[in-house]
């Protein structure tokens, strides 16, 4: 009796290297798009409603109370113009964070989608890159709808404002990667409520969305400046208002490095969780 070496050719090709990695991740993206096909209307409508509500309620309401023509503290722009891009960046943070908690947890443990997928030639890094690509797609559609609303309010200063879309996506991914890492360590969803209550919501309030962080006490200002949201807000606001600070490459580098490091951690933790 001999141990046979594969007698017939495999039914599927197994691509390797970079092409294989992209193809594998593309399948995961494709799966999420298949589900999205049934839910996109509601999702896009939400993306439209959020900025509309904020800009109407807070922007128009609050800006009545503020000096017209802008204040020096806001960099010489009206409050509505200051607020719009800030809401764009922080909404991307919130959506990206949400997409990285319950849906990922569900696929790890409640519905075990990843277990099913990992029985095929798809590997853990495909799962991670695929999910991040999916979230990037979601954020792109969301940021695009946002830009349309901002335009209706006459906020963007120049076509350069379109750069706010990739900046907002980058901001969101800088939350997705570490939160997927966190989700990979969780055995129930109780940590997620705490994550939103103690991290995401405070960041929303204190990272430059509603007022410049320079208004904060020095110590808090430094903490705010260390978070990805702060850097995202700077880039998004700079693009929309055509006031990009000359330090923009540093902000981009910060976000990219943050995504790379936390993404690698997410990969290690997902592997530890899923391959036993």
């Amino acid at each position: 009796m001999a141990v046979i070496a594969g007698s017939r050719p495999g039914p599927a090709s197994v691509a390797s290297g970079l092409a294989g990695a992209i193809a594998g991740a593309a399948r995961i993206l494709q799966r999420n798009l298949l589900v999205y096909r049934r839910t996109w209307r509601g999702s896009l409508f939400g993306s439209f409603l959020t900025p509309l509500l904020y800009l109407t309620a807070m922007g128009i309401g609050l800006s009545q109370l503020m000096a017209r023509g802008g204040s020096d503290l806001l960099g010489g722009v009206p409050y509505l113009d200051f607020l719009g891009p800030g809401i764009l960046a922080s909404s991307c943070m919130q959506t990206a964070s949400f997409e990285s908690t319950y849906p990922i947890m569900g696929k790890i443990s409640w519905r075990k989608n990843y277990e099913a997928i990992l029985a095929t030639p798809i590997e853990v890094h495909h799962l991670l890159v695929g999910e991040l690509s999916w979230i990037a797609f979601r954020l792109t559609t969301m940021a695009t709808v946002f830009m349309i609303v901002l335009t209706l309010f006459g906020i963007p200063r120049s076509p350069l404002a379109l750069l706010a879309i990739p900046a907002a996506v980058l901001t969101g991914l800088a939350f997705s990667a570490p939160i997927i890492a966190f989700a990979a360590t969780r055995h129930n969803d109780s940590g997620f409520a705490a994550l939103f209550r103690f991290i995401i919501n405070p960041l929303f309030l204190f990272s430059g969305t509603f007022f410049p962080v320079s208004q904060l006490p020095d110590a808090v200002e430094w903490v705010a400046a260390a978070t990805p949201l702060y850097h995202g807000v700077v880039l998004v606001r700079g693009s929309v208002l055509d006031k990009m600070p000359s330090t923009w490459p540093l902000h981009v580098a910060y976000l990219v490095a943050f995504i790379a490091v936390t993404g690698y951690i997410a990969y290690r933790l997902l592997r530890r969780r899923l391959v036993k």
Binding site: M1, I4, A15, L34
Partner: protein, 315 residues
């Protein structure tokens, strides 16, 4: 297609440890091409851990393992491309329809849609799910979900199909339908590895099997060989009135001597192992042993397991 001499899965000293705990302890087995090979054992024996190593879903801790001539440590993706895996608990994609579950799974194998569509239709037909193609997965019955999981495992036309407790939790009708379908797959030349803790399932489906208990293989062979080796042809089951039973020991104070090769005492009955059960029953009557009821039956794998471990397979 009859089983061949080719070895499709080869394991020697195969071991799985979770931290300090040994789930699979140095097991040896060979699965031949085109046979149905069973792992029979109670819960916790290590069956799933073994399946997951063969399926390249779980890293081998120690020992030798070859699957379709390849090494799971270095060629997991190539092996997986040629396997069909039916896990113990269904893990269908609840956000997709029945048909989409098959199509998307095909994509994970990089099978083009033009090939996947007719194949999915054919598999839905084979598993009697065509009417449910456009439905969501959640409302399906347990038997239907199981069939869909098996259809999904077949989407890449696998050479080796690994089924972990394929019928656990199903009603008898659903089990028989599945057995019939698995039998047909085997007829077509597929190699099946099946785990179960039902001895009737093992007897029905498996050409050869190993009996696992406490992380180790305790016996191996065809169902008939195992029964011949570890049990007698027939078994006489006796129920004894409680009043009488209280005063007697496991061999009935010697009154069962010579009637059977072996006597096994269970909580509710005695099992007398004898090649001729009727003759043993005559003997029991002759010695005026009081009984409530008696039953002569053929020996099964359950008896083999009882002999080897002193316990029943399913509590």
């Amino acid at each position: 297609m009859p089983p061949t001499d080719e070895i499709l899965v080869h394991a020697r000293g195969l071991t799985k440890r979770f931290d300090e705990f040994t789930a699979v302890n140095a097991v040896d087995f060979d699965v031949r091409t085109a046979e149905a090979f069973g792992f029979l054992g109670p819960n916790g024996a290590g069956k799933t851990s073994t399946m997951r190593m063969i399926a390249c879903s779980s890293p081998v801790t120690e020992g030798e393992l070859t699957v379709i001539g390849m090494d799971p440590r270095t060629q997991a993706a190539q092996i997986k491309a040629r396997l069909g895996v039916v896990p113990q608990a269904d893990n269908l994609d609840a956000e997709l329809t029945v048909e989409e579950n098959l199509l998307m799974y095909a994509r994970y194998f990089d099978i083009p849609m033009s090939v996947a569509r007719p194949r999915a239709a054919e598999l839905l037909e084979f598993m009697q799910l065509t009417e449910r193609a456009g439905d969501q997965v959640e409302p399906l019955s347990g038997g239907m979900k199981r069939r869909l999981t098996i259809a999904r495992a077949l989407i890449n036309d696998p050479e080796l199909i690994i089924l972990d407790e394929p019928t656990t939790g199903l009603d008898p009708q659903a089990r028989h339908l599945l057995w019939e379908r698995l039998y047909r797959l085997k007829q077509r030349g597929a190699t099946l590895i099946i785990t179960t803790h039902y001895m009737d399932e093992a007897e029905q489906l498996c050409d050869r099997l190993v009996v696992m208990d406490k992380a180790a293989i305790v016996a191996a062979g065809t169902p008939r060989e195992l029964i011949e080796k570890y049990a007698t042809k027939e078994v006489l089951e006796l129920r004894i009135p409680d009043a009488v039973r209280g005063s007697l020991d496991g061999r009935f104070n010697g009154r069962l001597d010579g009637l059977a090769e072996r006597v096994e005492e269970l909580p509710d009955r005695f099992l007398l192992y004898a090649d001729d059960g009727e003759k043993a029953l005559e003997g029991v009557h002759g010695r005026e042993i009081p009984i409530d009821s008696a039953l002569v039956r053929r020996a099964t794998l359950e008896d083999v397991f009882l002999r080897l471990t002193g316990r029943s397979l399913v509590e």
